[in-house]
């Protein structure tokens, strides 16, 4: 899947943010000129650190916040002036927001009752929704009698029971423990595949975003830093923030000396000259940040095109691989993941060796 085939134009987007800006205090913009088109049936994740504006975007889409400027379109119609209860958007909240004074069945019945649906039809839909999340046996329980994971499933079923075309999820798995969270990620993903509903998902957990999403919009400082598929985002980050935020990353700063095609020659601050893939590094003479993934670094002699000296500072045994902290060009936090393969030489702390990488694995990005 390439980034091009996933692009959705503003004309045929199901949800469209058109030059949306948001300010709470009239002095600073929380969301700066947001342009985003989400296709029908897509699973799009808004990923970013707290305060990056992602939740504000979700709340504007749900109708609980109003955009200071710009239009939000749903199915081609601007919804800025439509109150939340007329938007028909399902929503899952961080703390689930299950009504504590109602049973599970009554919770699911609520959206159907306000739609004045007949009792028989309601019951049929409730059963189907609960069956979908495998919680049919809990129909008469109260939310307080359920575990976190079970409450999460009910919240999911409740957001889907009235069959909305769009479901928003605001860090729905944040309160669960790691194992359950990973399990629920797959369940939500499978539900999305089965129902074909459009999902806009907000999280600050990058592995969650990578696992579930069709596309990820990485937010920082009120701006989408990059909008791409998970593999693109990890392998082809377009700027230093994305490279740093998604996955582990070794950074080296330097000055661009020459650019030939898409290969940049960079002189590192330590004096060494290396080659890297020119992505977002500006012109010759400009500053740049080089980014390389720890698993793309090879340890030992005769390996890779960019060879340089390194000293082993620390080794952490992690079973399938050994995490090795090294000193490279004065950088003492250079991380290398050495696969625990039979033919790999064992490293020793204090050992002087060399590391190397392929030019296309090292990306020259903007200086930060």
């Amino acid at each position: 899947m390439s980034a091009e085939s996933q692009t959705v134009s503003k004309e045929d987007g199901f949800v469209v943010f058109d030059h949306v800006q948001k300010s709470y205090d009239g002095e600073t913009l929380v969301v700066k000129d947001l342009n985003l088109a989400i296709g029908k049936g897509e699973f799009l994740t808004m990923l970013g650190p707290s305060g990056s504006g992602k939740t504000t975007c979700l709340m504007m889409l749900a109708g609980f916040e109003t955009a200071t400027h710009g239009d939000i379109l749903l199915g081609g119609h601007p919804i800025n002036n439509i109150p939340p209860h007329k938007r028909g958007i399902g929503m899952v909240f961080q703390n689930y927001a299950l009504f504590p004074h109602m049973t599970v069945g009554e919770n699911l019945s609520f959206p159907l009752e306000v739609r004045k649906m007949a009792k028989a039809e309601r019951e049929e839909k409730i059963r189907r929704a609960l069956d979908m999340v495998e919680m049919l046996d809990f129909i008469n329980r109260r939310p307080a009698q359920l575990s976190g994971g079970q409450q999460q499933r009910i919240a999911l079923a409740r957001s889907l029971v009235f069959e909305p075309d769009l479901v928003l999820m605001d860090e729905p798995l944040g309160a669960l423990d790691k194992q359950l969270r990973e399990h629920m990620q797959f369940e939500i993903k499978h539900l999305h595949d089965r129902l074909g509903v459009t999902v806009v998902y907000v999280t600050h957990d990058q592995s969650e975003a990578l696992t579930m999403s069709d596309r990820i919009a990485v937010f920082d400082d009120g701006v989408i830093q990059q909008l791409a598929t998970p593999d693109d985002l990890y392998e082809r980050p377009e700027n230093a923030f994305v490279a740093q935020f998604i996955g582990e990353n070794n950074r080296m700063t330097g000055t661009v000396k020459a650019i030939e095609g898409d290969v940049a020659t960079v002189e590192l601050d330590g004096g060494t000259v290396v080659t890297a893939k020119a992505v977002n590094c500006g012109d010759v003479g400009g500053r740049t940040t080089l980014s390389i993934r720890p698993e793309r670094v090879k340890v030992g002699a005769d390996q890779g095109t960019n060879r340089t000296d390194a000293e082993v500072l620390e080794l952490i045994y992690l079973g399938d691989h050994i995490r090795c902290r090294m000193r490279v060009h004065g950088n003492e936090d250079f991380i290398v993941k050495v696969p625990n393969a039979a033919d790999n030489k064992r490293l020793v702390v204090g050992e002087k060796t060399s590391v190397g990488w392929e030019t296309e694995d090292c990306r020259a990005l903007d200086a930060t």
Partner: protein, 416 residues
């Protein structure tokens, strides 16, 4: 496992339960020790006085103590047959002693409560008792014809009881008769039930008024940013820091017929100078002043409960298609019920025993049961009836407490 049937023991063979109890004893003893001063204070300053007063409501030993002979002999009298010489002799003998020991006043007061007008009958007869010669009955009747009336002796028979239900019955407008029967009080003496009902009506109206006025304020407080809400909360609490007396009397200044409000009404032509509203020294004045004074007791529990309701509930309801009014009534309101219950119970129980405000602004028809208790404590000095009225009030409060527990559940109450 075979061990599962027998008691579990520790490694050295002591039953686990006993070992645990030993281990827990020290911490329990320390906890109890910490609570002991307060416990002792409550027992001395709260429980004992209440029990003593309640006891007074059914226990009145004065007549039996000071008139022992009469007491002994009148128990055998069937209240219908004519008064015997024996009874008269006992009475005269007792009166001689009582006059000498200056206890006849207390005895006369006691009997006077059962049969009004007997006070002077007792004191004046006692003055002559020493010189009376047998037959005593004739001597008594000669002194005053009332001694020939069975009603006088029936009153004596009632008062001779050390433990008597008479006060409690009087507190609910019932009369305990000498033959042990219970009848309603004569029409003109039925005042306490009417007063009790008025007290409950005023308390209910005040509770509803504080709820209607306080709910939106509490909601506003709970949704505002912390800095603003703290500021407003101080304004809500401000009345607490002002003397109750000052607040009540300032209502007099505002509400009286030449007061601020009436002057404004006249100024804006809502009423004429001759027909000023009477808003004070009546029930209206009591309602207005009490609602104002008790409002914080409603707002605070409501606020503390509402603060714990996350805004995401109403948002969730709206996202599911509920109109704002539906979202409020079906999602927000049910969750604020514990606060309503706590606030209403607090205000109602405080209101039902309210005293200063009705005393100051109540006038004739704004008096409540507490004012009557005060009257009997300080003016009529009928402490037994005051105690009985207090007991009735306590029972009413406990009844509403029970009712609340049945309807809302005491576990649901949240005060903060």
């Amino acid at each position: 496992m075979s061990d599962a049937t027998g008691p579990i023991v520790t490694a050295d063979g002591v039953p686990l339960k006993r070992k645990l109890a030993q281990a827990m004893f020290r911490s329990r003893a320390r906890a109890f020790g910490l609570a002991l001063p307060l416990l002792a204070f409550i027992i001395v300053a709260f429980i004992i006085p209440i029990l003593t007063l309640l006891y007074r409501g059914v226990h009145d030993p004065r007549f039996a103590q000071f008139m022992p002979r009469t007491t002994a002999i009148i128990q055998k009298w069937d209240t219908k047959s004519p008064v015997t010489e024996e009874m008269a002799a006992a009475l005269v003998a007792d009166m001689v002693v009582a006059r000498k020991e200056r206890t006849i006043g207390q005895v006369a007061t006691r009997v006077n409560r059962e049969l009004p007008g007997t006070r002077s009958l007792f004191t004046s007869t006692a003055r002559k008792a020493k010189k009376m010669k047998p037959p005593y009955l004739e001597a008594l009747i000669k002194k005053d014809r009332k001694w020939g009336d069975n009603a006088t002796w029936q009153a004596i028979k009632i008062t001779a009881k050390t433990y008597t239900p008479a006060y409690l019955l009087q507190a609910v407008d019932l009369k305990y008769n000498a033959d042990g029967s219970i009848t309603r009080q004569p029409e003109r003496y039925r005042i306490y039930l009417k007063l009790l009902i008025r007290t409950m009506r005023i308390s209910l109206i005040v509770t509803l008024a504080t709820l209607v006025l306080g709910y939106p304020v509490a909601y506003l407080l709970s949704t505002l940013p912390v800095r603003t809400s703290n500021m407003l909360l101080i304004l809500v609490l401000l009345p607490f820091w002002t003397s109750l007396l000052v607040r009540t009397t300032s209502w007099i200044a505002i509400l009286q017929s030449e007061g601020v409000l009436n002057n404004l009404f006249v100024l804006f032509g809502i009423t004429t100078d001759q027909q000023r509203f009477s808003m004070i020294y009546n029930e209206t004045g009591v309602l207005i002043a009490m609602t104002h004074i008790l409002l914080p007791f409603m707002i605070l529990p409501l606020y503390s409960v509402m603060k714990t309701i996350p805004p995401s509930y109403v948002r969730a309801a709206k996202s599911m298609g509920a109109r704002p009014a539906t979202a409020f009534w079906r999602v927000y309101f049910p969750q604020s019920v514990p606060g309503i219950g706590a606030g209403a119970l607090l205000v109602f129980i405080l209101a039902i025993g309210y005293y200063i405000t009705p005393a100051l602004v109540g006038g004739e028809d704004g008096q409540m049961i507490s004012n009557m208790i005060d009257f009997h404590m300080r003016k009529s000095l009928n402490w037994n009836l005051a105690a009985a009225l207090g007991a009735v009030l306590l029972v009413v409060v406990l009844f509403f407490f029970w009712l609340y527990d049945r309807l809302v559940g005491i576990d649901n109450m949240k005060l903060g």
